[in-house]
Amino acid sequence: MVRCEDVDRLMTPFVDGEIADADRAAVEAHLERCTPCRMRSTMEAAARQVLRSGAASLREAATVQAPLDLKARCAAAARTGSREAARSGIRQRRGMMSWRLAAAAAVVLAVGGVVGLVLSRTSTTVMAAQLTVDHLKCSKLFPPNSPSDDVRVVEQRVGEQCGWPVRVAGSHPAIGLKLLGARRCLFGDGHVAHVMYLQGNEPVSLFVIPGRQSDPRALSVFGHRARVWSRDGRTYVLVGRQDEARLGQVAQYAQSMTH
């Protein structure tokens, strides 16, 4: 005979339908003749059903947009992680960095990230993630310091700022693209040129990074799309929230104009 205590241990798998057949028969037989246990199983099953049918909206409510700088720090952690994995002997002995130290280190990595990107072989994903954050920061916080839609003026100014020639694609009304201007990317410390556009009302950024080679890729990062390609010793990263087709138009146009 199955006792109440035995049924109690099996109640959750029974209600979830994850109980062994032999046990199920025993539990069912017990519930037939034990009212308290039957009530408990009814209550548990009812609560389970309510939870399962509300799960989607509970999950949605529990998905909270993380702050952008946290996203940047986590993306930077990918770089820290790969590097540390490479020197695996050290990390075992040293253990985890302290909380605050790790946080501080990651902020430095995130902010100084683009410089490191140029010099190291960071994954394209992480680079795109960091540039997406830069795209958001720059388009919100820093309007181009020399707004102009005159291609030659923009090329000359950003070229002087960066210290190397930057080819800039101008406005292109056929695809709704308007050149806003360009700046030396704050986070790139002069290593990255940031050309800013509007396509319709949507900001688009084209980052030009000298001395890095990446295979062409289309990525989705933080609700944005990024297109990455390299040519003539430069890597281009196009970032925007446009759909694939519209961003593709910009990519195609920029590729034709900058080579």
Binding site: P36, A62, A85, M96
Partner: protein, 190 residues
């Protein structure tokens, strides 16, 4: 931590896919961290430490297994460790006495039948929030996130039997809470 897996270190592309997939879950982890930590600063620390560990120990992840469960395990374990270290917020409900009372708690003789369509999302959320933490976490991980008993056991660092008894007790407490809310007239009957 998980046993040694083959990990995504097989190639650059595998590593990139792993990073992408992991970062795509950031908002889910942040929402969970807010729930566990109770404030933004600690939640941010928790999420960041989770990613630092996940990327550092990426080779231990078994490709093809549940990445969300793996990240949730790191998040929960990190949370438990942080609490143990500072000893300022001991786990709300963790004593043997509570586990026993959970097992021995009687069912009502005549429980009011809970009619599903009468339960509003807002009441469900409030009733869940009112559960003691140990029970709420177990129920949440099982019924909302739909993890297996074994996955939950490794997240909460308790035996599978304890996971099941917490789920069972948590569901029945939730049932009582919902019935009480309805009795108090806080739910609009449809």
């Amino acid at each position: 931590m998980q046993p040694q897996g083959r990990g995504p270190s097989g190639g650059v592309l595998a590593r990139q896919a792993f990073e992408e997939e992991a970062l795509a879950l950031l908002d889910r982890l942040y929402g969970t961290a807010l729930r566990l930590a109770g404030n933004r600063a600690d939640a941010e620390d928790l999420v960041q430490d989770t990613y630092l560990k996940a990327f550092r120990f990426a080779e231990r992840f078994e490709p093809g297994t549940n990445l969300k469960a793996w990240l949730f395990t790191i998040l929960h374990n990190t949370h438990l460790n942080a609490r143990r270290q500072v000893r300022r917020n001991p786990i709300e409900v963790d004593s043997a006495a509570v586990e026993q009372s959970a097992a021995a708690a009687p069912g009502r003789d005549d429980p009011e039948a809970l009619v599903m369509r009468d339960v509003l999302d807002v009441d469900l959320k409030a009733a869940l929030d009112a559960l003691p933490e140990a029970f709420r976490e177990a129920v949440w991980l099982r019924d909302v996130e739909e993890f297996s008993y074994a996955e939950i056991a490794s997240m909460l660092e308790v035996p599978i039997g304890t996971v099941m008894s917490r789920i069972s007790r948590g569901r029945r407490l939730l049932h009582d809470g919902l019935v009480e809310r309805r009795a108090a007239g806080r739910t609009v009957n449809l």
